[in-house]
Symmetry: D2
Subunit: 155 residues, 4 copies
């Protein structure tokens, strides 16, 4: 993204993640419990997901064929409470590919706590916006993912 | 909640849900894809969750013992896109209880589409805010849940 | 909007407003001060603004000429704190028209407190998205506004 | 805040601002118009406001006397559209003080556009949360503000 992350600030937990974005906690991200609200983590995951698709060229590969990603499912496990002020490092990586979908894992790392505070998983479906239905992932996408992730990905 | 829901607007899909809240889509809930953003569903689930705990008296039963609910995990499956204007009916019910946690299912029903557009699941842990750790669910809570849900709940 | 507002729930303060929308407070609208966050009022005003433009036919009159509204400025005065649960009635009306802009007033009424809790003002500019610049308000829009608001509007 | 801002990235427009925070745009900050939603600017201003009060020690000076800030009014002028990805620099400074309130100016600078994209003004009231009413600003706060802003501030 646009805040360059000094290489020495990437913690070992995120070393293998092709995309890591640095996002400060806003004061207004906290709710009445005076910790960051559960829905905010999905805002963070989303920006990491978009960054991954952009940086790896996947979004371009899809849009060339008039396809795009659509989110089919998402989950989050909350391990620790997060408070303002803090800065998060959010990692994204693809761990498996099906016929027309892929699974992406997200890690949320707190610089204040120097540990992972949440993890999540997205299911992203390859969508044909003209035909308004899901469609098989193009081979070019599979090849790019294998290259980015350093291994062939199966289900 | 504070908008009374006319009984005849509760669809059969939500008939067995102890708590149903009626929430209009805001224009600003939509994102660049011109549909409701994935994170907004968690805002809706949250209000349904709080409403359930409040309406069933569970929140009082917990706070009498200086306990409170904390969200440990949540997920959502997106079945259909939602757009403004629309009004959602969000149902919540508890489906299982463990030693110190319970699972709650959420359904999101769109009045425009007259169908369920998303479902999700929360894992809520019983938390001792003094001791700062999870703690077994009190028996009074188990009994109340059995009464509200019309059956003994196990894992 | 899609939640019909029973006529007898419109308070006298909003009786002259051509558009009133009914919006429940979500639990997550509250921040660490355990009252509704200041930014949420702008979400409410926005939905009221869109509803006004839609219901009065102004949006259609503009889009027929490939024009659209763009927000140039907005403000809010906070008179009282708002808490969950509550339901807001948000009114919108146009009070003056300039060459290429109009001013809209918003009132936020709390059903719990039975009083106005905030007021605000939007400046909406008529925008030519092709030419990427502001443009004079069409006469058809001025005439419609005079009809909707029951008077000729000047600056 | 917690992302240190390299000194050479502070643009001349913000050089005199005692507090500047660096906040990346999130993808989800954009709305259906595919630009950052108007309400998001208030989230940014809020974090800048809190940062100012924290960094200058004003929040401590207030809380020592069981006082706190409360937002009475806020406004924003939108000069240019903002899109993801981008990083904002948000400045805050106090420009005038009344008996029990102060006015703070906010500037939003886009790194992508290398210019100010929005400005705003907050009215912050000194609030006695015990007595539940506004109260005169303590002299210690006035003196600190004069020091931070480099001049005596009047109305």
């Amino acid at each position: 993204l646009t805040i360059p992350i000094p290489l020495n600030t990437i913690p070992p937990e995120l070393a293998d993640y092709p995309s890591v974005v640095m996002l400060p906690v806003l004061w207004g991200d906290m709710d009445s419990f005076q910790h960051v609200n559960n829905a905010v983590f999905f805002r963070w995951f989303e920006t990491a997901r978009i960054d991954y698709l952009e940086e790896t060229g996947l979004r371009n590969l899809l849009s060339e064929q008039h396809l795009g990603p659509i989110l089919a499912a998402i989950s989050c496990n909350y391990r620790r409470q997060v408070r303002f002020p803090d800065t998060m490092l959010i990692g994204a990586r693809v761990t498996s590919i099906g016929r027309s979908s892929m699974k992406m894992i997200h890690l949320a790392y707190s610089q204040q706590q120097a540990t992972i505070v949440a993890d999540g998983e997205s299911t992203i479906v390859c969508f044909d916006y003209k035909a308004n239905k899901s469609t098989p992932l193009p081979d070019a996408v599979r090849q790019r993912l294998a290259k980015v992730e350093g291994q062939e990905l199966g289900q």
